[in-house]
C-alpha cells in the first residue's frame, strides 16, 4: 500500500482541481478512492465479530475524515469526494458480487480461506444476494446510459448512504430534483430487476 500521507495529499490536490472545473481530476480520483476504501474496509475487519456487519455510510465518512485535509478544501469539495466515494463503493461491492457469481458457476470447491483462530463467519454474502447485487449493477449500467444523473443519485443514496441534501450538494443539484429523481430511479430499477 502506498504511503498514506501521499495519498491524502493527492486526493486533496485532485479535489481542488475538481473545484476549478477540471473534469479529468474526477476520473483520476476514482482509482485512489477505490483502493483506499477497500483498504479501510479490510483494516476494520478486526474490529468486529461474526454477526456484526459493516456499514457503508460509516466507512465512507471514515474515509473522508482520514483522507481529506479539511482545512485545505472548500466545503463543496466534500460533496465531490462523497460522490466519488459512493461510486467507488458501488464498484467495490458489485465487483465482489460478480466474483462470487463466477466462483460459484465455476463449480467445485470454493477457496474459502478460514482463519486458524476465527471460525468461518456465518454472515456472508449469500448466493441470492450476490445475484441481486449483480442484477442491480447491470440495471444501473443501463440507467447510466439513458439518464446518468439518476444513476449518480442512486450511487450516492444507496451505496454511499448520503442524505438528500448531501447528494444534492455533491452533484450540484437542487434537493427537490434529487428527491424526485431518487424516487423515479428506484421505481425504474425495481421494475428492471424484477423483470430480469
Amino acid at each position: 500500500m502506498t504511503d498514506p500521507t501521499l495519498t491524502s495529499a493527492d486526493i486533496t490536490r485532485l479535489l481542488q482541481a475538481v473545484r476549478r472545473g477540471e473534469r479529468q481530476a474526477l476520473d483520476d480520483l476514482f482509482p485512489l478512492v477505490y483502493e483506499e476504501l477497500r483498504a479501510l474496509a479490510r483494516g476494520q475487519r478486526s474490529r468486529w465479530h461474526g454477526d456484526l456487519t459493516m456499514n457503508a455510510t460509516a466507512l465512507v465518512h471514515e474515509a473522508y475524515l482520514k483522507l481529506v485535509d479539511q482545512d485545505a478544501i472548500a466545503s463543496e469539495s466534500r460533496g465531490h469526494f462523497f460522490a466519488v466515494a459512493a461510486k467507488a463503493m458501488r464498484h467495490i461491492l458489485c465487483n465482489y458480487a460478480r466474483d462470487r457469481q463466477r466462483l460459484k458457476r465455476g463449480g467445485g470447491a470454493e477457496h474459502v480461506a478460514m482463519a486458524d483462530g476465527l471460525e468461518a463467519p456465518r454472515v456472508d454474502l449469500s448466493e441470492a444476494s450476490a445475484d441481486e447485487l449483480a442484477a442491480l449493477d447491470s440495471a444501473l449500467q443501463r440507467l447510466e446510459q439513458s439518464d446518468e444523473r439518476q444513476s449518480r443519485i442512486v450511487e450516492c443514496r444507496f451505496f454511499g448512504g448520503m442524505s438528500i441534501d448531501e447528494t444534492a450538494a455533491a452533484l450540484g443539484l437542487s434537493p427537490a430534483t434529487v428527491k424526485r429523481d431518487w424516487a423515479l430511479a428506484r421505481a425504474w430499477l425495481y421494475r428492471e430487476v424484477q423483470q430480469g
Binding site: 475538481v18 473534469r23 474496509a41 479490510r42 476494520q44 475487519r45 478486526s46 474490529r47 468486529w48 465479530h49 461474526g50 454477526d51 456484526l52 456487519t53 459493516m54 456499514n55 460509516a58 466507512l59 465518512h61 473522508y64 463543496e76 467495490i92 461491492l93 465482489y96 458480487a97 462470487r100 480461506a113 482463519a115 486458524d116 483462530g117 476465527l118 471460525e119 463467519p121 454472515v123 456472508d124 454474502l125 444476494s129 450476490a130 441481486e132 447485487l133 442491480l136 439513458s146 439518464d147 446518468e148 444523473r149 449518480r152 442524505s163 438528500i164 452533484l171 450540484g172 443539484l173 437542487s174 430534483t177 424526485r180 424516487a183 423515479l184 428506484r186 421505481a187 425495481y190 421494475r191
Partner: protein, 751 residues
C-alpha cells in the same frame, strides 16, 4: 463539478415524465391513474410508462431498504474479510527461496487455516520436519522479537507427549517455526472419522494430554489453544503440538495484557470462557477447560455448546453451563471430573493438571465397594436431576448445575426454583445465611453508585464474590444484573447486545432462585426496559412493587415505562412515589427530574438536577437532562454549556451528550459545527453512539427524512432511548411517521 444540465439525459421527455411522476406522488394512490390518464392524453406510451413506474414505486422503497441490509452490508463485510492472497503468496514464496538451502520442501499440508503448513526434509539429518509459516499480518513487524522470545520459552519443553520445537525465525517479516514430523493422524481426524472414541482410548489420550500439560505448567508455559487439531496420535500415544504459539502470537500482537476486543487468537469453538470474555490474566486453567472440552468430545462425539454463530457461541460460553455429558459406561467420577473442568468460573475448576490426574486415577480404578472422593462428592442424583430438567427453562438448568458445581449439603436441586432452604427466613437483600456474602453484596451496592468504569468492574466483582459464597443469593444476582445494565448503558453500540444478554441471564437467575424477592423482579423489569419490552417491564415492576411498595428503583422503572408509552402524567406520579419512598436516592431524583422535564416543567426539573450535580462524583446525566430542558426552552447557549459539561465528566453514562449538543448547535444556527459533529458520529457509529444519536442531530438540522430513517435503524441496533419521548423531539411526534415508529418500538400496545 458538473451542474445538473451536464448529465447525459433525454431532456424533454424525461423532464415531462419526472414532473408528472412527482405530481402524481403527491396524490393519494387511487387518484394517480386518473390524473396520469388525463395528463397524458394522446401519449399512450408516456401514460403506460408512468403508471408502470408509479406501481413499481410502491414496492421500491421497501425493497431497497431491505436490499441494503441484506446485500450491501454483508457484501462490504465480505470484501473486508478477503485475505490479500497475492501478498500472502508472495511472502511464502520468498520464504521458500530463503530456506531452500536448509530444507527441501516436499509438499503442503492442508487444514492449517491461517498458517501454511509444509512438510520438508532436513537433508543434513535425513529427517522430515513440519514448517509452519505464519501469515505476515498476524505479527506486526516490530513484534518479531517478542514472538521469538515467547517461542523460546516453549522451546524449553522436553516431554514424551509434547512435540518439540526445533527452530523458529523471522525472514522479511514472515515468521515460521519447525518441529519434527510426527507420523500419525490428529485427534480431529480421528474424531471426524470415528465420532466418539472407545472409553479406553479416550482415557489413554486424556492422560497423555494431562501429563503434557502438567509438565508445561510446572515450567510456566500455558498452551491456550488445546484442541483436537493440536493433538497428534502416534501409535498408542498422543502428542501435543503448537505449545506456546497462541501465547506467543498474542504477546506479539499486543503485549501480554492485550486489550484486543474480543478473542483475536484462538479457535472460538474451543475457547475457555475467560478467553471468550477477553480477560487479560489467563492462567493454566484455560488449558484445563480446553482439556475438558477435548475429553467431552472424545466421550460423546460432540461439543457441549451449540450456537448459530461465533458470537452466540462465545456468549454461550460465558453465560451458560455446558450440556450434560452423557456416556453410558463412563464412571460417575469421570463425568463429574470432566464437568468440573468445564466450569464456567475458573475457581470452580480443578487447580492443576496434576490434580486432575490424581482424581482421574481415583475415578477410574476404585477398589470394588470403596466409595471414592469423586463418587461421593457428586452422587448420581444430580445427573438424573439434570436429565429430568433437561427440557426445562435455561434458568432451572443453570441453577441445578450451579448446585452440582459446588455441592453443598443444604442445596436441594430437586426443589430449586421457588423454594428456599428452611434456614433462610430473613427478608430482602439479607436473604442469605452467610454474612460474608451479604458483606460483598453491600459493597457491590455501594460501588454501584460510582458510575465509573472501575466502579462498574468492582461492582461486578463484588456481586460475583457474594454469589460464589452463596450460590442461591437471589438479590446478589439482581445486583449483578443491574451492574451489567450500567455497563450496557455506557457501552459502545456494538457491544450492547452482549451486556443486555448478561443482564437478562442474571435477572432470570435471580427470579428463578427466589420468586418472592422484589429486587429480582425490579432487575428483570429494568432489563425488559432495556430490551424495549414495555409490557413485560410493566408486569415485572408491578409485581416487584406488590411484593414491596418501597423496593428501590421500582417506581422509577414504572415511571420509565409510562414515559415510553406516552403517559406523562402517570410518569410524573410514579416518579414522585419513588422520591417519597427514598428522598435521597439518586435514581429517584433523576427519574423525577426526567419526569418533570418530560412534562415541560423545566424549572422544577433543573432544581432537582442541581442536587445531582452536587454529588461526588457529579452525575453527568444531570447535564444531559438539564441540557434537554434548556433546549426545549430554546436557550441554546445554556443547553450547549450543560451538555458540554456532561460530556466532560468522563462518566460515560452521559453517552448522548454529544448527540444533543449536535441538535442544539444545529438549532442555534451553528451549522458547520453541527455538520462536523454529525460526520464524527457517522464515522464512529458502531463504536460509540449508535443510530439514535445520529437521528437526534438530524432532527436538530430539521432533516426529518433522515431522522426517521436513522430512528428506524436505531430500533434495529437497540440504541433507541426513552429520550425520544422528550419534548425536544416534538417535531417528530407531530409527524405521521412517528406513529409507525411507535408501533415498531412496541409501545403502541403495551399489554
Amino acid at each position: 463539478m458538473r451542474s445538473g444540465g451536464a448529465f447525459r439525459t433525454n431532456h424533454t421527455r424525461s423532464a415531462r415524465l419526472g414532473a408528472l411522476f412527482e405530481q402524481a406522488l403527491d396524490l393519494p394512490v387511487q387518484e394517480r391513474e386518473p390524473f396520469v390518464s388525463h395528463a397524458c392524453e394522446g401519449d399512450a406510451a408516456l401514460r403506460d410508462e408512468l403508471i408502470s413506474l408509479l406501481e413499481a414505486h410502491l414496492a421500491a422503497g421497501a425493497y431497497f431498504d431491505d436490499l441494503s441490509r441484506r446485500a450491501v452490508a454483508p457484501a462490504l463485510s465480505a470484501v473486508a474479510r478477503q485475505p490479500d492472497d497475492a501478498e500472502a503468496m508472495r511472502a511464502v514464496e520468498k520464504l521458500r527461496e530463503r530456506l531452500a538451502d536448509t530444507y527441501r520442501f516436499e509438499q503442503e499440508l492442508g487444514g492449517g487455516g491461517m498458517s501454511r503448513i509444509f512438510v520438508a526434509e532436513d537433508p543434513r539429518l535425513k529427517r522430515r520436519v513440519v514448517i509452519k509459516v505464519l501469515p505476515p499480518e498476524i505479527i506486526p513487524t516490530d513484534a518479531a522479537d517478542r514472538f521469538q522470545r515467547e517461542i523460546e520459552l516453549a522451546a524449553q519443553l522436553q516431554h514424551p507427549h509434547i512435540v518439540p520445537l526445533l527452530s523458529t525465525d523471522t525472514v522479511d517479516g514472515t515468521s515460521y517455526y519447525t518441529m519434527p514430523f510426527v507420523t500419525g493422524e490428529s485427534l480431529r481426524d480421528r474424531l471426524a472419522r470415528d465420532g466418539a472414541l472407545p472409553l479406553d482410548d479416550a482415557l489413554r489420550i486424556w492422560r497423555d494430554l494431562l501429563d503434557a500439560l502438567a509438565h508445561a505448567h510446572a515450567r510456566g508455559v500455558v498452551h491456550r489453544d488445546i484442541k483436537p487439531g493440536n493433538i497428534l496420535l502416534s501409535g498408542r500415544h498422543a502428542l501435543v503440538t503448537d505449545f506456546g504459539i497462541a501465547l506467543a502470537l498474542e504477546t506479539a500482537a499486543g503485549g501480554a495484557q492485550s486489550t484486543t476486543r474480543g478473542p483475536a487468537i484462538g479457535t472460538a469453538a474451543y475457547m475457555a470462557p475467560e478467553q471468550a470474555a477477553a480477560k487479560a490474566d489467563l492462567d493454566q486453567r484455560v488449558d484445563l477447560y480446553q482439556a475438558g472440552l477435548v475429553m467431552y468430545e472424545m466421550l460423546t462425539g460432540v461439543l457441549p455448546f451449540e450456537a448459530e454463530s461465533t458470537h452466540e457461541l462465545l456468549l454461550a460460553r460465558i453465560t451458560r453451563e455446558p450440556a450434560p455429558l452423557l456416556r453410558r459406561e463412563a464412571p460417575d467420577g469421570l463425568v463429574a471430573l470432566v464437568t468440573r473442568c468445564l466450569a464456567r468460573a475458573r475457581r470452580h475448576r480443578p487447580e492443576s493438571a496434576e490434580a486432575v490426574l490424581a482424581e482421574l486415577d481415583l475415578a477410574t480404578s476404585p477398589p470394588p465397594g470403596k466409595p471414592t472422593f469423586a463418587a461421593v462428592a457428586v452422587a448420581g442424583r444430580p445427573r438424573r436431576t439434570i436429565a429430568r430438567y433437561a427440557g426445562a427453562t435455561l434458568a432451572l438448568v443453570t441453577v441445578v448445575s450451579l448446585a452440582m458445581v459446588r455441592p453443598s449439603p443444604r442445596s436441594t436441586p430437586g426443589g430449586a426454583a421457588g423454594s428456599l432452604p428452611a434456614s433462610i427466613t430473613a427478608s430482602g437483600p439479607r436473604r442469605t445465611p452467610d454474612i460474608a456474602a451479604y458483606e460483598w453484596y453491600r459493597r457491590g451496592m455501594d460501588v454501584a453508585l460510582l458510575r465509573t468504569d472501575r466502579g462498574r468492574r468492582e461492582g461486578i466483582a463484588h456481586f460475583e464474590r457474594a454469589i460464589s459464597i452463596d450460590s442461591m443469593y437471589a438479590a446478589a444476582y439482581a445486583g449483578l444484573s443491574r451492574m451489567y445494565l450500567t455497563v450496557w448503558n455506557a457501552s459502545a453500540a456494538d457491544e450492547r447486545r452482549t451486556w443486555a444478554r448478561l443482564a437478562e441471564e442474571a435477572a432470570f437467575h435471580a427470579v428463578a432462585l427466589d420468586d418472592t424477592e422484589p429486587m429480582a423482579h425490579v432487575a428483570l423489569g429494568w432489563v425488559r426496559l432495556a430490551t424495549s419490552d414495555y409490557g413485560a417491564a410493566e408486569a415485572a415492576l408491578t409485581r416487584a412493587l406488590d411484593l414491596s411498595p418501597v423496593v428501590p428503583r421500582g417506581h422509577e422503572g414504572l415511571a420509565r415505562v409510562h414515559m415510553m408509552t406516552g403517559r406523562r402524567v402517570e410518569q410524573l406520579a410514579e416518579a414522585r412515589l419513588g422520591v417519597e419512598a427514598d428522598p435521597f436516592s439518586h435514581s429517584a431524583i433523576r427519574e423525577l427530574s426526567l419526569a418533570l422535564a418530560t412534562n415541560d416543567r423545566c424549572e422544577e426539573a433543573l432544581d432537582g438536577l442541581r442536587t445531582l450535580k452536587t454529588l461526588t462524583p457529579p452525575a453527568a446525566v444531570a447535564g444531559v437532562i438539564g441540557g434537554m430542558c434548556y433546549a426545549s426552552r430554546e436557550m441554546w447557549p445554556e443547553a450547549i454549556s450543560e451538555l458540554q459539561w456532561a460530556a466532560s465528566q468522563g462518566d460515560n453514562s452521559a453517552t448522548f451528550a454529544p448527540a444533543f449538543t449536535g441538535y442544539s448547535l444545529a438549532r442555534a444556527g451553528r451549522q458547520d459545527e453541527a455538520s462536523a459533529l454529525l460526520s464524527e458520529l457517522l464515522a464512529r457509529r458502531e463504536q460509540r453512539h449508535g443510530s439514535f444519536a445520529i437521528a437526534t442531530v438530524y432532527t436538530g438540522m430539521r432533516d426529518y427524512d433522515e431522522a426517521f430513517a436513522w430512528l428506524d435503524r436505531a430500533v434495529d441496533d437497540g440504541s433507541l432511548n426513552p429520550y425520544i419521548m422528550h419534548p425536544i423531539f416534538a417535531d417528530l411526534h407531530r409527524d405521521p411517521r412517528f406513529q409507525r415508529l411507535k408501533e415498531r418500538m412496541g409501545v403502541e400496545s403495551p399489554r
